[in-house]
């Protein structure tokens, strides 16, 4: 029991008792709701030794307001509970208007939204171009003095994005050759063209898959890491601090990452190519019982002098795209940790998309150039 109600004529006497705390919220609410108000003109509330916390006092206040609306005036016997007094003092200002939610199929609003999104995306595009330009200017400035190039920072990024990625990239290289060899052996054996499995594996790995899958792995590993690192620094106001000291954040944070990945990704690609070729030889030996020497001889005639270069030339392009996407997304983080997660995801999506798009363009270009 939290409240006892007694009626004498039109006078309602309420005696509060016990601990009015949030834990008993529903019980108190039920008791207050069961009090009969009709016919009463005046309510006298005795708080006595009852303990009211804010939630309890709020419930009492809600009840008294309901009574007031029903024409029952209330007064306190003795002191008003302090928590209630505090609430009254708090509520002197206007209660806020509730948020207005628009109908989402309002055509007028749909047009407005479309316009807003278009302008927003256009500004984002300009922002991205400006970022790339800024990086270019910073690079040009840095090339003037070697001290500005931050060799230690570049070395750290080569280590983080390159050296530590060697195991996974090697494994990927091997797996590519497994996939190509199995698929090729199965299809080509039907034509008695087993020997062309070697062509498929070597050309496939060197021209396309070695560099492509390495770039995708690096986009997932390092593109996201760039975005998260720089984004966390943004949230921590470290980027602002750099700028305030007079250090260009693009020069200090973005450039070393771009240059580091520019060096690391081609090297990783070479490793993936190498492992892919070795794996291809082993699989041809295992699947087709082809002597290793024959594999080497066949590979030498299958690979033109341009095959390796047609693959490796893409690596720097992919590297720059991944690094720029990661750093750009990181620099755009503002405000909240949710933003950090969103932009890290976006960095990976943009960089993988960019890598695939560039690869397709390269394929068309090489066809036109007849390489």
């Amino acid at each position: 029991m939290f409240v006892t109600a007694q009626r004498s004529a039109d006078q309602l006497n309420l005696q509060l008792q016990g601990e009015w705390r949030a834990a008993q919220f529903s019980a108190i609410e039920a008791e207050l709701n069961s009090i009969e108000l009709s016919g009463a003109r005046h309510a006298r509330v005795a708080a006595g030794s009852a303990l009211l916390d804010l939630s309890g006092a709020w419930l009492l206040r809600e009840f008294l307001q309901r009574a007031h609306n029903a024409g029952v005036e209330s007064s306190f016997e003795g002191a008003e509970p302090s928590a209630l007094r505090l609430i009254e003092r708090t509520y002197t200002g206007e209660m806020p208007a509730h948020v207005v939610r628009h109908e989402w199929l309002d055509p007028e609003q749909a047009v407005e939204q479309l316009g807003r999104r278009t302008v927003h995306n256009w500004l984002n595009l300009l922002d991205g171009l400006q970022f790339i330009g800024h990086v270019g200017v910073a690079l040009a400035r840095s090339l003037g003095g070697l001290r500005r190039l931050r060799a230690t920072s570049i070395a750290r990024h080569i280590y983080d994005t390159g050296i530590t990625a060697i195991p996974i990239v090697s494994l990927i290289g091997f797996l590519i050759s497994v996939i190509l060899a199995y698929m090729g052996a199965q299809q080509l054996r039907r034509f008695g063209a087993d020997i062309f499995v070697v062509d498929l594996v070597t050309v496939g790995v060197l021209r396309e898959l070695g560099v492509l899958l390495t770039a995708i792995i690096v986009a997932g590993r390092s593109g996201s890491a760039f975005a998260a690192e720089i984004g966390a620094m943004q949230l921590n106001e470290e980027v602002d601090a750099l700028e305030a000291i007079g250090i260009d954040p693009i020069e200090a944070l973005v450039l070393p990452r771009v240059l580091g990945l520019l060096i690391a990704l081609p090297l990783l690609t070479i490793i993936a190519d190498l492992i892919g070729l070795v794996g291809g030889g082993l699989l041809c030996h295992a699947l087709l019982h082809m002597p290793l020497l024959q594999y080497v001889a066949r590979a030498q005639s299958a690979i033109a002098s341009t095959t390796f270069w047609a693959g490796i030339i893409k690596a720097p392009v992919f590297a720059v795209m991944i690094a720029l996407a990661g750093c750009y997304c990181g620099m755009r983080v503002h405000g909240s940790s949710r933003e950090l997660g969103r932009l890290t995801t976006l960095a990976v999506v943009i960089s993988i998309f960019g890598v695939l798009l560039a690869d397709a363009l390269f394929a068309v270009l090489f066809l036109q150039l007849d390489i």
Partner: protein
């Protein structure tokens, strides 16, 4: 009657470095207790230990006579509803609006209908002196002072008996800090709150604290404010009688 919060013989070590060497602390119901100490004496670590976030190398933390670190997980969870805490940087959940921040503990510990939750959260937001429209804002849209207040609103969400504050007025301008002190005093009086706060702000200490605990050499010297001012420990003397403190001490004695 048992103290509301009793810390006994806390030993904290990080590697070979001993931060607390048998620290004792006792907070009675209805006190405003200030924890003072130089940088790196382990004030925030002590707070984390009291909260049950960190297990000390030795010693006990008793809340209402019950040992925090030998409690079952369920009992500890229930106990967490009876204290509210603010962290130094506010630690508001950045993905949630202020109102949702205040509701987060309510949703975890209470079973209330939605409209009542909204109203109660709004009440807490206004209680700490934030305008009602701040309730819908996100932490990244708030100023430093508003973040401190929003954090206090979240700490008050469950109507706790004990409020633990880590440097509540650091980073505030003197006017906002003074307003925060007044708010704290008002809540302390009206809600019969017990407050434990870590602070460097001498104004806050003189205005609000009924007792002060100073961490010196891994132990705590706690006394009434007047007692601490007359303490002969050299560090305490420098802290409370340094150039910056003298004027305020004079005011406090005069008052």
């Amino acid at each position: 009657m048992a103290a509301l919060l009793e810390v006994q013989g806390i030993v904290t070590r990080f590697g070979t470095q001993t931060v607390h060497a048998g620290l004792d602390m006792r907070v009675e119901e209805g006190e405003v207790f200030g924890i003072v100490g130089g940088s790196g004496v382990g004030k925030s670590v002590l707070l984390r230990t009291i909260l049950g976030l960190r297990r000390p190398e030795a010693g006990t933390v008793r809340f209402l006579g019950r040992d925090l670190h030998s409690m079952s997980a369920a009992a500890l969870h229930a106990l967490k509803a009876s204290y509210g805490v603010t962290f130094q940087e506010g630690a508001l959940f950045s993905a949630l609006s202020v109102q949702q921040n205040v509701q987060a503990p309510m949703l975890e510990h209470w079973r209330l209908p939605g409209p009542a939750l909204d109203e109660l959260a709004l009440l807490k937001v206004q209680l700490v002196g934030l305008p009602a429209d701040a309730a819908l804002k996100y932490p990244s849209q708030l100023s430093g002072g508003m973040i401190k207040r929003a954090a206090l609103a979240r700490a008050l969400a469950l109507d706790p008996r004990l409020l633990l504050l880590d440097e509540p007025t650091s980073g505030l301008d003197p006017i906002s800090a003074a307003a925060f002190d007044e708010l704290l005093l008002c809540l302390h009086q009206e809600l019969k709150l017990t407050v434990v706060m870590i602070t460097h702000d001498l104004d806050t200490i003189f205005r609000t604290c009924s007792r002060v605990g100073v961490i010196v050499a891994g132990r705590m010297i706690s006394d009434t404010l007047a007692g601490i001012l007359n303490n002969q420990d050299p560090w305490i003397r420098r802290y409370f009688h340094g150039a910056r403190a003298l004027e305020r001490a004079g005011l406090a004695h005069g008052a």
